[in-house]
Symmetry: C2
Subunit: 423 residues, 2 copies
């Protein structure tokens, strides 16, 4: 090993960013790769999708995050393989890049459970292009409906199907309802936006799996009060260009949004390891990849069992804590010390927002609903957002939206997508 | 003519918006067409192009602007022809829409002076997609350069050519210099962003044609102090995939931004009228189209001579004033009154910004430069922006940028465009 070891981090999500930051004072050369030039604050992606925030509000340039950390070099490029024997990663268009330590933190992507044909007719919500695509379709559906004369087609255009009742699905469904009922209320002359239908389908028995039952029931009741049509135990059987088949029933819809499944990016295949659940890499208790103590997998691509015997959830705090843990482990090894202890996830609770003044918070010390949970949700997310500028802008827009019911990012940048229409 | 006349307005730019608003209390059915769903505040487009503002900050949903004005119906759709004899406009995908009065306000688009092959290798700056395309190329050029090993190619990637020394070109060139010198200063490890070259070419004898000579000279001196390489009397002779030929000299550049020419949208052809300068419709003194007193052309598509004997410039105030004038004329005709007087342009002055704390203001009562002009520029543009929300967000971002030299909208949404590179 050279005097100054080389640490390669792949992915500038919550895991990669936290690992890199924690390594600030380590005498090592760190190379941080990402396919894009920005760190994305995914928890607010649904607000971009529903025209409440601009894409730039939740994206931070990775370079400026590390401008002052001299041991980090940021490289924009796509890593498409690992050679653990040679200790190199392969970067598309660049070639092999050597490492002494490797932290893989490439996250997850939307998954259609093997139904790749469904993908063409529904939109996932994992990236900024996904979010702007949903935004454009959402806004365009009302535009097309306003121009349409056929009543059946108007109904189809104004039927919004959200598949998946996890936090993203719940947040998206509630937000679409608010857009239709409040923001767009006075904007059309022929259609009544409030007559739009929003249907939320969840295959499991309840919404917000992982939250306590009482909060899950509150979320459902609250969504139903907002006129979201919630269906649990309802699996999607088909998705095509004009609608979906769910639990034996046919729903005609021009807008199918997919929040149902995620799968790890194909890191297991790169490493030649049998993937665990959702394609994740079953890691050791120190987040290392079996047989490769110098290679770590963290966040959504790592499969690990928590203290309660259940798999750790695919959420930002797990990735962040694993990132910092692995950074400490590498720091200790470089210093010739051993790090005591395995990775241990400290669950600080979960939050999900349902709508205006309504959220749920499952905390170690309390379960909260309603306005209190909503204020907490807002405060926590503002705090976690990267950079004072983004915090300020998001805060201004939230206050504005709360006062006026307006959404300022109602932009269809190009012409509305035509494939939504049948006629 | 029916009891309640039908006024069709085509284009929701400065002209169309002002006409529609001024008609608020007229007993008429107004249909306002635009190809997009938003009114665009074009004077700040260069700030989107240089990552200072988000697209949504300068775009306002047309529907919400007219939500409270019951006599206006907004329709998103592309008008692609007029039949003055039948008194209909043709809307793509919809068909013929009748009118009693027609206001054409479709504006101008970038023009490559008949060199349509240049268009493929340079980016105009007239629309939001243009601005985000420039932003992505600008940021990607630095990314590609950081990855490049060949010194000649690095120089080519970091050479930014702005063609056209009007307000847009001056603003864009100054802004690119600030991005390279301040915003990106500490963000790269291999390249030095400050070593980027910014070249501004103007075919005419001076920058900011239309401004007094003293202000034009100030702009040039100020840009040169910022290290923009200004060349006047320098016409572009060729643009290709790897550079430009200007005034007999070859410049290798991966980034050619086109602010040189505009041409009116093809309204003259729709009407079967011989177009005037830049394709504009030579209108009567009341902005009507010759031979059709019920059809009006305003803004960039109208060619009209001012009180000083010179053609009216293609700027927002002309379009706005013509919009209001034509609205008053139609109001009077509907009421059976005659409107006294022709259209008369009241020139309230011109502003152009050069860089941080530097602008020029040519006002009827004074010529200002430097900080005072810059503060005036900022205040006027905040005032003119549509809606309190956008004003607030733009103000917050300007203050932030002024304090920190940061630009928050440094987003390459997808992967960086590959066609910028030769290797």
């Amino acid at each position: 090993m050279p005097a100054r070891p080389r640490i390669v981090i792949v992915g500038a999500g919550f895991g990669g960013i936290n690992a890199a930051r924690r390594l600030a004072s380590v005498p090592a050369d760190i190379v941080l790769f990402d396919r894009t030039n920005h760190h994305l604050f995914q928890p607010l992606l649904y607000q971009v999708a529903t025209a409440a925030l601009a894409p730039t509000d939740i994206a931070s340039p990775i370079r400026s995050m590390f401008a002052g950390q001299a041991n980090v070099e940021v490289q924009i490029g796509e890593v498409d393989g690992v050679d653990p024997a040679a200790r190199t990663v392969s970067v598309r268009g660049v070639g092999a890049v050597p490492y002494d330590y490797l932290i893989l933190a490439t996250g997850s992507e939307a998954s259609w459970f093997g139904h790749d044909d469904w993908r063409a007719h529904s939109t996932g919500l994992k990236s900024l292009p996904d979010a702007t695509r949903i935004r454009e379709r959402l806004l365009a559906a009302f535009e097309w409906a306003e121009r349409e004369v056929d009543a059946v087609e108007i109904t189809r255009l104004l039927t919004f199907v959200v598949v998946g009742g996890g936090a993203s699905g719940v947040e998206l469904a509630g937000s679409i309802r608010e857009l239709a009922d409040a923001t767009l209320r006075r904007d059309f002359r022929r259609i009544k936006p409030a007559e739009a239908r929003v249907l939320l389908y969840e295959g499991g028995p309840g919404l917000l799996a992982g939250f306590p039952d009482a909060l899950s029931r509150y979320a459902r009741a609250r969504l139903e009060r907002m006129r979201v049509e919630v269906h649990t135990g309802a699996s999607v059987e088909a998705v095509d260009a004009v609608g979906v088949m769910v639990a034996g029933q046919r729903i005609e819809s021009a807008n199918v949004f997919w929040c149902a499944g995620v799968a790890a990016t194909p890191v297991a295949a790169w490493l030649g390891i049998n993937a665990g659940k959702h394609g994740a890499v079953p890691v050791e208790a120190d987040c290392s990849v079996p047989g490769h103590p110098e290679v770590f997998a963290i966040g959504d691509i790592a499969s690990m069992t928590g203290a309660n015997g259940k798999p750790l959830p695919g959420v930002a705090p797990v990735a962040e804590q694993q990132g910092r843990y692995v950074a400490d482990l590498i720091t200790a090894r470089i210093a010739g010390r051993a790090l005591a202890g395995k990775f241990r996830y400290r669950d600080q609770g979960s939050l999900a927002v349902i709508g205006r003044s309504a959220a749920v918070a499952s905390l170690p010390w309390a379960k909260l609903t309603g306005f209190v949970a909503w204020v907490m949700w807002g405060g926590v997310h503002l705090f976690l957002l990267n950079g004072l500028r983004n915090r300020l802008l998001v805060y201004v827009q939230w206050v504005w939206a709360w006062l006026t019911y307006g959404r300022g990012a109602r932009l269809i940048e190009g012409e509305p997508p035509a494939e939504q229409r049948t006629s």
